[in-house]
């Protein structure tokens, strides 16, 4: 592991959070309609890597995320986290745990708790910290992320950009191995999105947590990721895996660089092909 980290360009020194997706199949309703969502999908994500999963809406990317998080069972194959089996053909559903925390598409901060209480929630539930320590740690982490002013507001009172950051801080409070992000910036306008991207990278540079990030935005994927996996439309499997050789740390000037545009050109065709297939399939179903 350490040899690999030394060989790999910056920021992959983390030794935790390596994910192996090995020949995973997911069939919904196997006795009835038998819809194949994931088809013999294999993918390796190194510890501390940002892996972007790109594919058209409804292609089965979220199914993969749900399998890692332990929300849904898989049909066959296995998924490993740091060499330990999360789920496999024998034990199809992983147990949800605070080592893999999901940031949801529409956000799942509890609207009835203040932002501070949301952030302190994980350690309190697990009994890892008592109330005053949990709140103290939460205050510190929110201050580090520039969120000190929003502590006593309820999530409904702050902008969606702030909510997203609070949700990521809530996840990081638990020192997870992996962050699973399910199109978290989908609903944001492109200006807010660019702020959120830089903010996410800032948080990442401080924490070096493995990030499994689902999106359908290729630009977002290449800007953020070490690795971009372009998935086929349903059933889902990697069509093309791109290693992004633009060094981290990155900022928005990357978007106008020559290399960035080359990578966009290289992958755009593959993504567009899948989008067309998904569109055609959607029309037939409709």
């Amino acid at each position: 592991m350490s040899a690999m980290a030394a060989a790999a360009p910056p920021l992959t020194h983390s030794t935790r959070g390596a994910i192996v997706i090995d020949d995973v199949v997911k069939i919904y309703d196997p006795d009835g309609a038998a819809v194949m969502a994931v088809d013999h999908c294999s993918l390796e994500i190194e510890a501390g890597e940002i892996c972007m999963i790109v594919g058209p809406s409804g292609c089965g990317k979220t199914t993969l995320l749900n399998a890692i998080a332990g929300f849904h069972a898989i049909t066959s194959g296995r998924i490993l986290l740091d060499g330990e089996v999360l789920c496999s053909t024998e034990k199809p559903k992983a147990d949800p745990g605070s080592d893999r925390i999901v940031v949801f598409q529409n956000g799942a901060l509890f609207p009835w708790k203040t932002n501070l209480d949301n952030v302190a929630f994980g350690p309190l539930m697990q009994g890892k910290l008592n109330k005053s320590h949990a709140l103290e740690k939460a205050r510190g982490m929110m201050a580090d992320a520039g969120l000190a002013g929003a502590e006593h507001n309820f999530p409904g009172e702050v902008s969606s950009g702030v909510r997203r950051r609070v949700e990521i801080v809530r996840a990081l409070m638990n020192d997870p191995k992996v962050l699973l992000l399910d199109e978290p910036y989908r609903a944001l306008d492109s200006l807010t999105k660019s702020v959120m991207h830089e903010a996410l990278l800032e948080i990442y540079y401080k924490n070096k947590v493995t990030i499994f990030f689902i999106t359908h935005d290729l630009e977002e994927a290449i800007f953020l990721g070490h690795k971009v996996a372009i998935m086929t439309t349903r059933p889902c499997r990697p069509k093309k895996i791109l290693e992004v050789d633009i060094p981290h740390p990155r900022n928005y000037s990357v978007l106008t660089s020559k290399r960035f545009r080359e990578l966009m050109e290289e992958t755009n065709v593959a993504v567009h092909e899948e989008a067309l297939k998904a569109f055609a399939a959607g029309e037939k179903e409709g």
Binding site: S98, G122, V158
Partner: protein, 304 residues
């Protein structure tokens, strides 16, 4: 990437938004008072007064001035108010008689007991209906069969079951409230976005912690909608129940005044019922606002 500018800007913009809104630091009961003060400064109280004035004006004109068909036999507003404010009322009931307050007190006390029972039993029952699919499969069909049966249809059974008329009245008052509370609570649990439960699971919450920190607060808006309906329904049912049995209470006043042809007293009873019902309903709403400040504040931001 320096990082600082983004963070400082964000922190500043958050403070900025809070200052602009004005009520950013108002909490608890103060928030309610603050909103009440805002209300009194707005044109809304005047609209309310105009609404009442129009209604009472129509009553006056239709009965006493125009003597419209159907309205002609009704007690007029002047008769009712004279009777209500009289120190020696013709029909024996006014603001100056102790009996008036005894009727109010008896009705309020019955509704309080029935509403309390309906809440204490209905909320947990509804939570379990929403929480456990199996429990719902057993119980919900029976529940749905009993729910549409009107209170008046329960009267004979209530009298057979409870020999004391007081417990029969409370049982009848309780019944419809219980159904309203339980059904809304169940819908509340079912309305909770699956993401919240999943997020709590990710963050390491146990099943009982999910129940306490996600299911109960998540269902609270629906629970309070249920309680608002419940308190209203308990007043309907109370009047029905008091017409059947009992020796005191506003429903009893209305019913006996009818048989003894004391029309102004009927209207006094009706208006008193309406006013007391309004107050109890407002109290439930206040408790709800207090317990769900996150929601009150969200709605306030939306300008409601």
């Amino acid at each position: 990437m320096s990082g600082k500018p983004v963070e400082t800007q964000l922190a500043e913009s958050i403070v900025d938004i809070r200052n602009r809104r004005g009520d950013g630091n108002v909490r608890g009961i103060n928030l309610t008072l603050y909103r009440l003060l805002q209300w009194s400064k707005s044109p809304r109280p005047y609209l309310m007064l105009i609404g009442f004035a129009l209604f009472l004006g129509f009553w006056y004109l239709s009965v006493e001035v125009w003597k419209l068909p159907r309205f002609r036999e009704m007690p007029g507003i002047t008769d009712v108010i004279k009777e209500w404010l009289s120190r020696s009322p013709t029909y024996g009931l006014s603001l100056y008689t102790a009996e008036y307050y005894q009727h109010i007190w008896v009705s309020v006390w019955r509704v309080t007991q029935a509403f309390f029972l309906a809440t204490v039993l209905g909320v947990p029952f509804g939570l379990f209906l929403g929480w456990s699919k199996k429990f719902k499969e057993y119980v919900f069909p029976v529940f749905e069969t009993l729910r549409p049966i009107p209170i008046l249809a329960w009267v004979p059974l209530a009298i057979v079951m409870f020999f004391a008329s007081e417990s029969a009245v409370i049982f009848l008052t309780f019944l419809a409230s219980f159904f309203a509370t339980a059904l809304n609570t169940m819908l509340g649990v079912e309305s909770i976005d699956e993401s919240y439960v999943r997020a709590a699971n990710c963050l390491g919450a146990s099943k009982s912690q999910v129940f306490r920190h996600v299911i109960v607060p998540g269902a609270l808006p629906f629970i309070f909608t249920g309680l608002q309906i419940s308190i209203g329904v308990s007043w309907f049912s109370l009047v029905a129940a008091e017409m059947v049995s009992g020796q005191y209470g506003l429903g009893y006043v209305i019913n006996t005044s009818y048989t003894m042809v004391r029309y102004p007293t009927i209207v006094i009873g009706m208006i008193t019922l309406g006013a007391v019902g309004y107050v109890t309903s407002a109290m439930v709403r206040l408790v709800g606002d207090y317990l769900m400040q996150w929601r009150t504040r969200e709605l306030a931001l939306g300008g409601q």
